[in-house]
Amino acid sequence: MTLTFEDFPVGRLGTFGPRHVSREEILEFAGEYDPQPMHLDEEAASKTMLKGLSGSGWHLCAVMMRMMFDGFIGRAASLGSPGVNELKWVAPLRPGDDITLDVDVTEARISRSRPETGIVTFKGVARNAAGQVLCEMTSPIIISRRESAS
């Protein structure tokens, strides 16, 4: 059944994952989209602030997007997102990390300009297997209301 605006009340939505991120995937993403030595080369990375090879922050964003898709967006009447209010890269993504994602709905309101849709603001917190927070993100998604979802 398709999830609609009404299925996203304020509060904890769920915990998703774990999603494994391999060294190979980190190198592949960085090679294409973020070719900085701290994401590509162990030796160079060991001398940076992050002290060792780390995944691109944008890679972690993409992984969080995929986890949200698999967790609920893929079944929701999502019309897309206007953006991201705030995103913090708190600690580096490391090769071999298993990521879990806690998602809360922080706000849910009916759109003034398109009243057949609602705007649901999600807060996602990604953690590694040790429970350390790697990334926090707050982003609205536009979702159809039940009576208008097909």
Partner: protein, 165 residues
């Protein structure tokens, strides 16, 4: 990469442009954002986007790619002139990221970075934080993408660190 002290608010730099092909849009979407309007022309036509649209995270990742490669090109040129090049640090995050208009298959997006703010790092006195407004504009001159990113930049003259031991 410059030292923190050499960076001025308002400094603007073209970082490059990129054409989003249908194949690349689908390849990124299959891995990271397989919503139907990022995977199929027909599903895209039925959506609010009106055609096959790139994932917003694909647009952001391409912006990063161009920023990094343009910075690396500038660094190589500075080294060739015999100048000292310092490495920048990682980013603590961003805010106010806006997917203003969809990026459709075939669109060419040109990205520009402009320094919007400079502040000291409270926790790391040897680094400053530069805030940069990055903007993407399509071939029709429409702004499609924007975010305010932050990055650590080394200071030439760090304030004296407090001795704790």
């Amino acid at each position: 990469m410059l030292f923190f002290e050499d960076i001025a608010i308002g400094r603007r730099r073209e970082v490059g442009s990129f054409t989003f092909t249908a194949d690349e849009i689908k390849r990124f979407a299959r891995k990271y954002d397989p919503q139907r309007f990022h995977l199929s022309e027909e599903e895209g036509r039925k959506s609010l986007f009106g055609g096959l649209a790139a994932s917003g995270w694909h647009v952001a990742s391409v912006c990063m790619k161009l920023m990094v490669t343009s910075m690396q090109r500038l660094a190589r040129e500075a080294v060739a002139r015999g100048e000292t090049v310092v490495a920048g640090g990682p980013s603590p995050g961003f805010r106010d990221l806006r997917w203003i208009k969809p990026v459709m298959a075939g669109d060419t997006i040109s990205f520009v970075s402009e320094v919007a703010g400079l502040r000291a790092s409270a926790s790391r006195p040897e680094w400053g934080i530069v805030e940069i407004r990055n903007t993407g504009t399509n071939q029709r001159g429409e702004v499609v993408f924007s975010f305010l990113g932050a990055g650590f930049v080394p200071r030439r003259d760090p304030p004296r660190a407090e001795v704790t031991q």
